[in-house]
């Protein structure tokens, strides 16, 4: 029995590629398997190449897999594009009319007339994807009743005729495979009563995590790849006593967040890089006015409209530094769908406790990725609350009181005795405009001291994942969705006998300094893989820790692959060996 299997379905958008992938994913999740998926989107509204890849395993996995065990190609273009990623001993299922050069090919090739079966035998071209599903069910030994059960639920609201059509298509697919295939992949589902997993995308997880963290007001503006967060909340938040408002642009969205938050509710927005660019001025306002706010940035290829449907991690500098003046904010970056849930709790925790903006950096790949999540995960979300002010016994309420703690008690507007003014101008303790050097210095120090406190917050200590312990030749530091491939690459490099370990800071501003410094003192060379051109985390590390780094950057619109990282690790090791060899030579 094979318990780590990667499947890719490729075709044209609208052909049902995603339905096939999602069906296999949902059945697998019900059977207790872990899975991570990856899918591409065409920039076109309809049509254009798309694919969905699923990796299924009975172990914890954090990456969608590099080479695939089984490739389903629904047309020639999909075959040509994806064939190089098929494993040597893999199985190719393709539309019968596709040209495949089989000479010298070690993969098993099955040409299946998917379209002909759908059109001639079922009488409906759109059933093609269900025929594909039938063929796959037989090949992968997915028990037929489980697929039928799923289809019955999926088409429950449709007419019986539609369900019947689909059941027939499934049967035809299974029969074709039974009669024509000699090989079976033998991917069996684990026996016994499985623990069912939840299955959701990163965007759904962000929305769910926010709701569980107690968000009451969401303001947003449509933008790929973040729109699903608003769409999920538009459906569910009203039932939880919350409000979702679509504004006319991102500037309004974040300013509405500022208003709602000042009025005392947990408020957030979600957008992509172009939206954060527009929000930059307001980030400064939230910072100087000390208003809690959560901003999700699902990064895509930039700059400007850039690559709207492709992934990139190129907004790190924007997240940390975007906005004029010295405007501190917290930046955190989950690495998996499960963390998208828990770290939305962390975002509200930091925002409310320290009264400042918190940016959550994810990317298109993580937003769209479907992953298994254990039930009950919302229980792990940290609780958050704002320090509430009491009306002063005498005198005016000092909203920005300079005291030992940089966090001043806040009051809901309209609280008797706590009347106050918040402002984007530099201000004194009471909110009065003051541009003298002493006030500006004291207030700037106050705002930046929050970052120091956050660095020592107990929650921050959990926001840094170490892969391996102790001294190592090579250290790999990465962030966000690149953590999955890095984890796999480190495991592979260790199998090759290389001394390597990794560190994934999930809070990027402030960085978890103690853990970072310890790590740098224990490794000889630092590789920083990330999905941008300039090596944004690497330059941040060089500036902060004066540590030399080797950047591994990629801007191809797709996630890093473990093999690329392993190659870089080997390259760096060679350098080390040569250096020690030279040293050895000189000593002799």
């Amino acid at each position: 029995m094979m318990h780590d299997f990667t499947l890719r379905v490729a075709g044209e958008s609208g052909e049902g590629v995603i339905t096939v992938g999602e069906t296999v994913a949902r059945i697998a999740a019900r059977e207790g398997l872990q899975l991570v998926t990856f899918r591409t989107f065409p920039a076109e509204i309809k049509g254009g190449a798309c694919m969905m890849q699923l990796r299924l395993s009975d172990q914890k996995i954090s990456y969608h897999g590099e080479k695939v065990d089984c490739l389903v190609a629904l047309n020639q273009a999909a075959l040509d594009e994806n064939f190089p990623d098929l494993k040597e001993q893999g199985v190719l299922l393709c539309e019968a009319e596709c040209d495949v050069i089989e000479d010298g090919l070690s993969a098993t090739v099955y040409k299946v007339p998917f379209e002909r079966i759908a059109v001639r035998e079922i009488g409906s071209r759109i059933s093609k994807n269900i025929v594909v599903l039938g063929v796959l069910a037989e090949l992968l030994a997915i028990p037929k009743p489980r697929v039928e059960e799923f289809l019955a639920e999926k088409f429950a609201k449709k007419s019986e005729a539609i369900l019947d059509h689909n059941m027939q298509a499934l049967e035809k697919g299974i029969c074709f495979a039974r009669e024509n295939f000699s090989k079976r992949e033998g991917f069996g589902f684990p026996p016994g009563k499985p623990e069912r997993h939840l299955l959701m995308t990163g965007n759904e997880a962000i929305a769910l995590g926010s709701a569980a963290a107690g968000v009451k007001c969401f303001f947003g503006y449509p933008i790929t790849p973040a729109s699903e967060i608003m769409e999920w909340l538009a459906v569910h938040l009203p039932r939880m006593g919350g409000k979702v408002l679509q504004t006319e642009d991102e500037i309004s969205a974040i300013c509405a967040v500022a208003g709602a938050s000042w009025a005392g509710e947990k408020a957030m927005t979600a957008t992509s890089g172009p939206g954060v660019s527009l929000m930059s001025e307001a980030l400064g306002l939230l910072s100087i006015a000390e208003i809690p706010a959560v901003i999700v940035d699902s990064q895509r290829g930039g700059p400007s409209t850039g690559l709207p449907t492709k992934t990139e991690q190129s907004d790190l500098m924007l997240a940390i530094h975007g906005s004029h003046g010295d405007a501190p904010r917290v930046v955190i970056a989950p690495t998996s769908v499960s963390e998208c849930i828990t770290m939305m709790g962390a975002a509200f925790y930091f925002a409310e406790k320290y009264q400042m903006p918190v940016i959550v950096l994810v990317d298109q790949a993580l937003s769209a990725r479907v992953e298994t999540v254990k039930p009950g995960i919302v229980e792990e979300i940290p609780k958050s609350s704002r320090l509430r002010a009491q009306a002063p016994a005498e005198g005016n309420f000092a909203r920005y009181k300079l005291a030992n703690s940089p966090v001043s008690p806040a009051a809901i507007p309209g609280t008797d005795g706590c009347e106050h003014m918040v402002t984007g101008m530099e201000h004194d303790e009471f909110g009065n405009f003051a541009c003298d050097d002493e006030t500006h210095t004291a207030m700037t120090v106050k705002r930046f001291r929050k970052l120091e406190e956050i660095e020592h917050d107990p929650l921050t200590q959990n926001l840094c994942q170490s892969i391996g312990e102790g001294r190592a030749d090579i250290g790999v530091v990465t962030w966000g969705s690149s953590a999955g491939p890095v984890e796999e690459a480190i495991a592979e490099a260790r199998r090759l006998g290389i001394s390597v370990r990794g560190l994934v800071p999930k809070i990027l501003n402030p960085l978890p300094h103690a853990q970072m410094k310890k790590f740098f003192s224990e490794v000889n060379r630092v590789i920083v893989p990330e999905l941008n051109f300039t090596g944004q985390l690497a330059s941040q590390l060089r500036a902060t820790y004066r540590v030399p780094t080797i950047s591994l950057t990629k801007i191809k619109g797709v996630p890093l692959e473990p093999s690329e990282i392993v190659a870089k690790i080997i390259e760096a090791t060679d350098g080390l060996q040569q250096r020690s060899a030279r040293r050895y030579g000189r000593a002799r």
């Binding site: 920039a43 076109e44 509204i45 309809k46 049509g47 254009g48 503006y221 449509p222 933008i223 790929t224 729109s227 699903e228 608003m230 769409e231 538009a234 459906v235 009203p238 039932r239 979702v244 679509q246 006319e248 642009d249 991102e250 172009p274 527009l278 400007s304 409209t305």
Partner: protein
């Protein structure tokens, strides 16, 4: 404020207060040489926007001027920028989402500077701006109204498909009441979009536009007359084009004409134009299409699944009908005049 005058004549109107000659009325738009958007675009089957843009470009061809197009992010930008041949011999600048209006101002400033340097004649160019309803009613509204207020030459075309379609059908400021979109879902508590849309011609006139019009590609003669007028009239002109979207309206791809005709006959979409006479502080309104029989809006709601929830609720259908009647009542004077005075024009240029 301005005085409102009505043109008694209902129908095609190639005349203008500002132009000495009527513009051309082209019965067969295919007779004009191809200028783009005939092939190579990525539009969905049944998209009204492709047809609309094609007609705009053909009508501008009649002006003999070079088209400088500034296009805002949106469906039209996505489907026409993967292949430069889409725009024929026009020069195209895809700018950001919020600033189509601002780019029009930039173009004018540059053309004027070139003219002063003796390098070009501003008259040789049509300054064309194009954006969707999201880029016009929402994020681009500030730039658009500011451009109109500056009184600069140009033609702004809004391709209105009544939601953000290329990002997955999210509601916009132009989304009709009761529509089911991904951000205004039709549910048990909230029944789709609760807002009534704004009207672009109203906003543009208030900001000082010289000429505003609504159009639809099914009535191509009307559309192309309006585009020629807008290109010829001095000052900011705005045309809003009804753009059928099978993907977002959840309609069949082959009922483009039927949906448009129903929109006109139920008066969910009104074809009209308005010209401003600054000297006399008046605006002349012309109704370009008045259906003989007013069909109930429920018929319009039938062909589009985006209305599948609200059309089952009598009070929502009723409110939609009320919105239509209220807007249509604006035309009462000209409708009354036509009953008594036939086809005679109230105001003659």
């Amino acid at each position: 404020m301005y005085k409102i005058l009505f043109n008694r004549h209902i129908g095609l109107n190639p005349h203008s207060l500002m132009l000495p000659e009527p513009v051309q009325d082209i019965a067969e738009y295919g007779a004009i040489p191809t200028t783009g958007l005939t092939s190579g675009h990525q539009g969905c089957a049944g998209c009204g926007m492709v047809s609309g843009t094609n007609q705009v470009l053909r009508a501008l061809k009649l002006t003999g001027k070079h088209v400088v197009a500034s296009i805002g992010t949106g469906c039209n930008e996505v489907i026409t920028t993967q292949n430069t041949s889409c725009w024929g011999d026009a020069s195209v600048d895809h700018n950001n989402f919020p600033n189509t209006g601002a780019t029009l101002s930039g173009n004018i400033a540059a053309l004027k500077a070139l003219e002063m340097a003796g390098l070009a004649s501003a008259d040789a160019f049509v300054n064309l701006g194009m954006a969707g309803d999201g880029g016009t009613y929402d994020i681009g509204l500030q730039a658009l109204l500011a451009w109109i207020a500056r009184g600069e030459n140009g033609l702004y075309v809004c391709l209105n498909n009544q939601a953000y379609m290329n990002t997955g059908v999210q509601g916009s400021g132009a989304t009709p009441f009761g529509t089911n979109t991904s951000t205004t879902p039709f549910g048990k508590i909230v029944h789709g979009n609760q807002r009534t849309p704004q009207y672009l011609p109203d906003l543009a006139l208030a900001a000082g536009a010289r000429y505003v019009a609504t159009a639809c590609p099914v009535h191509h003669r009307d559309l192309m007359i309006k585009v020629q007028k807008a290109a010829a009239i001095e000052g900011p002109c705005v045309i809003e084009i009804y753009s059928v979207c099978p993907e977002g309206w959840k309609s069949e791809t082959d009922v483009f004409h039927e949906i448009t005709q129903l929109a006109l006959e139920t008066r969910a979409w009104i074809l009209y134009e308005a010209e401003r006479d600054h000297k006399n502080n008046m605006v002349l309104f012309t109704l370009n299409y008045a259906p003989k029989k007013h069909r109930p809006v429920s018929e319009y709601l039938q062909m589009q699944e985006r209305f599948s929830g609200m059309r089952e609720l009598a009070e929502m259908v009723e409110k939609t009908q009320e919105i239509i009647e209220a807007r249509w009542s604006f035309w009462n004077p000209v409708l009354a005049a036509n009953q008594t005075h036939g086809e005679e024009r109230v105001h003659d240029a």
